[in-house]
């Protein structure tokens, strides 16, 4: 046996990439966001993330044992899912929230479909949607101010009159949403607050992360560093994030103003891009390869679809934020998109 050679099919050389190297690099790319979160929210942020990741890994191991398939927790994909579940929850959440979310994400979101590569829906987001539906009040209220004391990123001092609680205790997007309802915010205040939201001040806070919100989403800067790293490593591809963000930009510019079409300043779309989970979603979750299209055209369609839905939900939906639902919703279309965007083979003759 020892002097028989190996025979395998071509190619006989292989690029040095593997699933686990990809996944651990994603974990690495998520670290800056985690650090910012720890800076603003304290060790609780770290603990919640740790619980999420640990619960994901343990669940994966248990289910794989039970199914009698190889245990693949070392490949890091469960860690990514666990971290992202935790990144999607409020810093005020009790410890069991990330745990339950991660367990659901791995068990129902991933393993039940056969494990890595077979799931249809983004497990982390399914976990979040599950938490949202089960404990909406924990998930959507009681935002914690950062250590610098900001929740909505607004410079409240610069606003003239007394501001209703819907604005003061809300995240930036929550405030933007409340603005659209005259029963909640007096009409004479709308413009004023809107201008404040779309000001450089607020946007700076959004960029650095001095806002209330889910653990992982607060700092656009930290997320962009991670995203740049992934892009450089060719782990994520530009199509989904770019088409996603561009769509949000265009649509919020057109429809985002409260006084009708095109009534917004150019800063409002920028506000919408940095606020909420858009950066996290566009670069880290919409790009989840398992649940996004494999074709290039398909990725653009996917990104645009996510963008449209995000804006619809933000502007007229029942929630302030629509990133997670829009990605989940587009996940359903992926099989169809894949099917109808098969690229033309090189040299395909036009009919």
């Amino acid at each position: 046996m020892s002097d028989v050679y190996t025979v395998s099919a071509a190619p006989h050389i292989k690029e040095k990439v593997s699933v686990s190297s990809i996944m651990w690099q994603v974990v690495l790319a998520l670290l800056p966001a985690l650090l910012v979160s720890i800076y603003f929210y304290g060790t609780k942020a770290f603990l919640l993330t740790l619980y999420g990741a640990a619960a994901a890994v343990i669940t994966e191991a248990i289910i794989q044992k039970f199914r009698g398939v190889p245990v693949t927790i070392k490949d890091g994909s469960a860690v990514v899912t666990g971290i992202l579940v935790a990144f999607n929850i409020n810093a005020a959440a009790p410890w069991w929230i990330p745990v339950v979310g991660a367990v659901f994400a791995i068990a129902i979101g991933k393993q039940i479909f056969g494990g890595l590569g077979f799931n249809i829906f983004n497990p982390a987001l399914l976990g979040r949607a599950f938490l949202m539906a089960s404990w909406p009040s924990i998930m959507t209220s009681g935002w914690v101010p950062t250590r610098l004391g900001s929740i909505n990123g607004l410079n409240l001092g610069s606003l003239p009159s007394k501001i209703p609680e819907v604005i003061t205790s809300a995240t930036p997007l929550g405030a933007a949403k409340a603005l659209r309802d005259t029963t909640q915010v007096a009409a004479n205040m709308q413009d004023n607050i809107m201008n404040q939201l779309a000001s450089m001040d607020t946007i700076q806070n959004l960029f650095w992360g001095n806002i209330g919100g889910c653990l992982g989403e607060i700092s656009a800067a930290a997320l962009l560093i991670g995203a740049a790293f992934l892009a450089y490593k060719h782990i994520i591809e530009w199509r989904i994030p770019v088409s996603y963000i561009a769509t949000v930009f265009v649509l919020t510019y057109i429809f985002g103003g409260i006084n009708g079409l095109f009534s917004a300043s150019l800063l409002l779309p920028v506000f919408h891009i940095f606020a909420g989970g858009l950066i996290l979603g566009a670069f880290f979750m919409a790009t989840d390869m398992v649940t996004s299209p494999v074709t290039k055209r398909g990725r653009v369609i996917f990104g645009i679809g996510c963008g449209v839905l995000t804006v619809v939900i933000r502007l007229v939906g029942g929630y302030p934020e629509g990133v997670s639902y829009s990605i989940l919703f587009m996940n359903m279309f992926v099989p169809l998109i894949d099917r109808y965007t098969v690229p033309k083979p090189f040299g395909e003759v036009k009919k």
């Binding site: 046996m1 028989v4 050679y5 190996t6 025979v7 395998s8 099919a9």
Partner: protein, 300 residues
Amino acid sequence: MIIVYSVATLGILGLIYGLGLAYASRKFHVEVDPKIEKITEILPQANCGACGYPGCSAYAEAIVNNGVDINKCAPGGSAVLGQISKIMGVEATATERKVALIHCQSGGSNNTFFRYKYEGIPTCKAAVQLSNGPNLCNYGCVFQNDCLEACNFDAIHLDENGMRIIDKEKCTSCGACVKACPRDLIELVPVKKRVHVLCSSQDKGAVARPACGNKTACIGCGLCVKKCPVDAITLNNNLAVINYEKCINCGQCADVCPTAAIFDPLKEVRAKKKAEAKAKAEAAKKKVEAAKQKAAEDKE
């Protein structure tokens, strides 16, 4: 008053619909296969879609035209199943039952000689593509278990040596494994025939014998051909082939095969039977003799 109205309304509705449909069914009548119609009628008309077809008539059509399984109607249950099988299955039961048989006794890592170490996708089809397969024998089983995967009835198992064993009870002789095996090792044989050539090598003996890790290659010596009392064996391309229509399960070929390529599971049974028969015969003989003696004695 309400009663009058309601009776009238529903009656009129019923009449209109009934007449309309009756008229339409004449006007738009389309011929269909009577078999389909019959099965459609047997089916419960719940049109629930549980069978995976768009409605009862579609399922009936699929049964008749595409030979789909007849056990898919959930609401109908076993009663309907029986009735359909009466319509469809007359010919299915008539033939002799067959089971799959693998004509190779090698094909596990313990009893195989290797040409090379195979690293690739675990399918036989792919393995035979690479330099004639990882095992030294060009005709033998490459043990990547395509047949096992193909069997929908869980009829093929691996034994402790990694050899494929076919469960005669479970095998439905669907032939899926026959199609799956790229080495053409599998054949459907009548379940009553028990003596088989368990080798498919068409190499000459000098090549075949050393290549077989189980040392049971057919070397094409032809002894079995000569021995067979009913001329059921022929040599094709250095390989003995049994014609099962002629074979009488006598096992004489297996006795003469120098490499044990022919396998006779009945050997022991037969030996036992023979011994018994012999014992019986002897007993009988003794009896006769005793009787004779007695008679003789009596005479005396």
